[in-house]
Symmetry: C2
């Protein structure tokens, strides 16, 4: 009804950023073996040149490139084999004009050599003579000293999430430990008299906890540590006690349930009491997830998430994830990975509101079709069945059947 006074997620998140400190978490030093997916706390500087010598990238013969100029099968260049360079050894000679030395992939070029002819392009004439059947240019099949990384060069920036190949590069440079940002602790408070632990039999009128499991998994996926605070009764004192404790123990507080008309004032009131400035926005122009509450208490983000499982997921992605990345101080550019698909049926949306439609994907004749799962946001199975989410921007009134969309894959 009153969507116009509500913020869009990107503006709401910016409002939170204004009241918290970027890269606010402390750091710790871990061995590189344990640093996969961790976020760097400082720029990493190359401690040495990589490689530390001119290195062959193929099996063949180290040569002076100029000795091979014009060489072809019909008129090969003839070179004298001066030596064989054993793998991992330092050649104790230098090449003169007209000379070659056999070398394996990874081997060190002798002084005087500036290229390597691949073994496939060589005929061995005798024990000490080869025919080169193809010319090489200077630098061909060679990685020169410091071509990969230069001593003192910044190789990885602060705020980068370390990928397998980054760790490989650190190992290659002899870096044994790396300073990373501590994993943020995210507390999860469930409110609601009707919520029961998943281990218990439900009685009519009750439902089991779904959200703490979804949220814990999303925390793991985003490099955070979930801290489950249990199921709290819809009671001011109980919730206040739980939020106070969560605020002390964690870096970000998530409260689910308690954001609908019935109890929303309770959650908002408590967020306002815990610290300043308190609630920053109450509701956002999105569907699902409209009743979200976002606030900051003395520098710590506190969210009141809706109770519906689908809304919880969407709100985590739109609000909590950017805040996690902000406290991490993540500087990696975030390119949205999508799958191009066509809508299998028209869906309409409300202008002025961003809609997030769960879709199921199917391939027909090489084309991918997205079918909206237009069920109620309280249905957890609709998220289990969905392959991805289609975002309908606020200025559109919907998407027509057959129209092309970019689906953000859930994984």
């Amino acid at each position: 009804m009153l969507d116009k006074k509500y913020l869009f997620p990107e503006d709401a998140v910016r409002l939170i950023f204004k009241h918290i400190t970027q890269r606010s978490l402390s750091s710790e030093i871990v061995p590189i073996e344990e640093a996969y997916s961790r976020v760097t706390a400082e720029d990493i500087i190359s401690p040495e040149d990589l490689p530390g010598f001119n290195r062959s990238t193929v099996d063949g013969f180290a040569v002076k490139a100029s000795d091979t100029f014009g060489a072809k099968e019909s008129s090969p260049a003839y070179l004298k084999i001066k030596a064989d360079i054993p793998m991992g050894a330092i050649p104790d000679f230098s090449l003169s004009n007209g000379e070659a030395a056999s070398i394996a992939t990874g081997g060190m070029l002798p002084e005087g050599a500036d290229a390597v002819v691949m073994v496939e392009h060589v005929n061995t004439v005798s024990d000490d003579l080869i025919e080169v059947l193809k010319a090489v240019s200077p630098g061909e099949n060679v990685i020169f000293l410091d071509e990969d990384a230069k001593k003192g060069e910044t190789i990885i920036k602060a705020g980068h999430r370390l990928k397998p190949q980054d760790i490989g590069a650190l190992a290659g440079l002899g870096i044994k430990d790396v300073k990373v940002i501590r994993k943020p602790v995210i507390s999860i408070i469930l409110t609601g008299d009707e919520i029961m632990p998943h281990t218990e039999k439900v009685t009519p009128g009750k439902v089991r906890d779904v959200n703490s499991f979804t949220l814990a998994g999303l925390c793991y996926e985003n490099g955070a540590i979930p801290l489950k605070m249990g199921i709290i009764k819809d009671d001011y004192n109980e919730i206040k006690k739980a939020v106070t404790k969560a605020y002390e123990l964690s870096d970000i507080v998530l409260i689910t349930g308690g954001t609908s008309a019935g109890t929303k004032d309770l959650t908002a009131k408590i967020i306002n009491e815990i610290g300043l400035p308190g609630v920053l926005f109450h509701g956002a122009s999105i569907k699902p997830g409209k009743p979200i509450i976002g606030g900051v208490c003395n520098g710590k983000p506190v969210f009141g998430l809706p109770g519906h499982p689908v809304a919880v997921y969407i709100c985590f992605e739109l609000f909590v994830k950017p805040v996690i990345n902000y406290v991490f101080g993540l500087t990696d550019k975030n390119f949205k990975k999508t799958v191009k698909a066509k809508m299998s049926r028209s869906i309409h949306s409300q202008a002025g509101r961003q809609d997030f439609i769960r879709v199921y994907l199917e391939e027909h004749n090489g084309e991918i079709w997205a079918t909206p799962l237009l069920s109620k946001s309280g249905l957890i199975m609709s998220l289990v069945k969905a392959h991805g989410i289609v975002h309908i921007p606020s200025e559109l009134l919907g998407i027509l059947e057959g129209e092309e969309v970019f689906v953000e894959i859930i994984d």
Copy 2:
């Protein structure tokens, strides 16, 4: 030179599949709290109806929808408040025509009610009378009994990698444990006289181990357990001993280095000796990664990966990952997530060969541009700097500047 006799990755992988057993790994039972990202070993059947009762999805008043037909602000429907339904309680009454009961989100509908009017669409006239300002249709704002999941229904198939919301759904159904596929153990053998541990100072002619760190991270990302077998000298007996041990201890064996002309015959010979059928392909029509060896020894996949860091990464993605997914018995459809970009410069490719170009992405005026990092495949930093990979199919001779490409993001 001889690309025509080499297989494309998809055909090479199919050849391996013919000689191994799908979902060959044993299973184990784990609590759902530990099942994030694990692969299900069997179909999961809903043990009960979810929800187990008709449930309100909003705060408001449970009604008979027919009592509200035609209601609008100018001519509201008047209903008598029969009762207040406490959260988590079973209503001990049923609604008659003209009656309503106040209900909170998640509350259980009383007998006779088939819809809920949102509190925003109601005026309270007196303690026991409301005006309904907007009609509701039957089922509106209600999740009916078993609408989410029906008892006996397959909710998650075998071979599915469990996402946070899947675990949430299992919790919601009261499922405490889940049977998942054991994580495959992948042994990593490094060969090469020039390779040194990352903890040691390199002497000229030597380089530190990069690949075991990249490969270990890729194993983790794909749900497998890496088993590092150390650095083995380029010696038949030493490599044979290491491969024999790795074959006994692991589900998939990776040998890096030793696939170029100099030592490739050694690796292939040993794979042929360890078990049948042995080497299935030697080389593939790709760049980088051409010298890859793929084989199966008595049902266990064994790969000889090239030694170049970039080639190792590409070969893992193209050959090892599909094999991991196959032994897991993964049935999830794999939709390729990409970022649409324009090439900032032309690159050419060789017909008959699939090229994998590392690219750097930049955004200019809302458009994403991909710049090829056309460095040598031995340069690990080119992979660190790359945001993604552009695949040039074998039938193309290249991509022109300004042409649209779909970049597979590395993350």
